[in-house]
Symmetry: C2
Subunit: 234 residues, 2 copies
């Protein structure tokens, strides 16, 4: 008779975008049982991102009752300061990685999300917390940099019960978008279920910074993005 | 003609308890314009604590529309793991500061609250973030220790926009409860509006750990606690 040890659990932050989907695939490849966390924060494409989250979870057979957590932190929209949550501000379509932080930055969003993920990880005994942040080839948000995650790791160590070990893993932090696309294809991740557009929910706009970064990633990987685009430029 | 410079703004985390009320009084004494943040997290005495928050804010004339923020993070109750949010667990009445972390610990709660406070501080341009955490003479929660706040300070520095300066201030961290009572009286803080009880909302129970710590603080300060208690022991 053989017994199998249960897989270690990892909380995986899953926005429903390309980066988080591939990060989930990498966590599973590493042998973790995923507990997927999704956060609504009053962003423009909230409903579409939630659908992408559930589609990706369904693809991987992640139990809806026990291993998915959807949290509402719409106070980030009430606090404001970002074009993603404030309809009065335009989402930029610069098409390039800017030399300043664009107004799509949601102040300190990732600290809010990591805090929730750590609370959940501590209660369910997860040993890792995966986040699909990308430092280069991104919009330059301060809370997407490796330095930020190192600092947050120290907060987890100091602020959880003795004996708790939760390690932040950001396996695509130094990947280009093209690397991420190729890694996703290698792992047969359901990229057709992902959603990255900042402003549209039917067909991706193809023009916002997030769409342009994504499209460039597919182009540089020599692959075709499987999701629908509205823009003739895409 | 004289012009007065506007006061610097501080976000003050105001649960409505004794420690946060005195911390608010200290922030005001230091010359800050307070922006008061209150968090409902599905705790047993949520409504009573919210009332205490507004009573204290009213006392100090803190503008309800512009300078108060009430946030719901009831996902901490959904995540569970604490007797403060899970009615199936008993709130302990040990009456002593335990040598282990009691089940009233809400996993990583203060990181969640500090993250919200930092988001707000970054958007409104506040230069300080006050929290009334107490390290000694407390229940030993890991996220109430100075080491935790030092670590979180590094996260704020790394994770906010360049040029942002938000300093965590925890002025009562090394105070005893008696010190806090005396400081509150010196500053004429509205201690009669505060609420500390973990489990009752009409008259404080007088028996939970929080009531006992508070009552001992008043006793050691040689003062009478102005709030009503149900227990004949109080």
């Amino acid at each position: 008779m053989t017994t199998s040890r249960p897989l270690p659990t990892a909380v995986v932050l899953l926005s429903g975008g390309l980066d988080s989907c591939v990060t989930l695939a990498m966590a599973i490849e590493q042998g973790f049982q995923p507990a997927a966390l999704h956060v609504n924060y009053g962003q423009r494409t909230q409903d579409r991102e939630l659908q992408a989250f559930h589609d990706i979870c369904d693809h991987y057979g992640i139990d809806r009752r026990t291993n998915r957590l959807v949290v509402d932190i719409s106070h980030l929209a009430a606090i404001g300061g970002s074009s993603l949550t404030d309809q009065r501000l335009d989402v930029p379509n610069s098409g390039v990685v800017a030399d300043h932080i664009p107004n799509t930055y949601v102040p300190f969003r990732n600290a809010n999300i990591l805090a929730i993920g750590t609370s959940w990880a501590e209660v369910i005994g997860a040993s890792a917390l995966f986040i699909g942040a990308v430092q280069e080839d991104s919009s330059g948000y301060p809370d997407c940099r490796e330095e930020f995650f190192h600092a947050f790791q120290a907060v987890i160590t100091a602020g959880t019960k003795p004996g708790t070990t939760i390690v932040i893993q950001s396996p695509v932090i130094h990947h280009t978008k093209a690397d991420i696309v190729q890694e996703g294809l290698r792992l047969a991740a359901p990229l057709h279920h992902t959603w990255s557009c900042y402003q549209a929910s039917e067909s991706a706009c193809g023009t916002c910074d997030s769409c342009q970064l994504r499209l460039r990633g597919f182009a540089m990987a020599g692959e075709v993005d499987p999701i629908p685009y509205a823009s003739p430029c895409a």
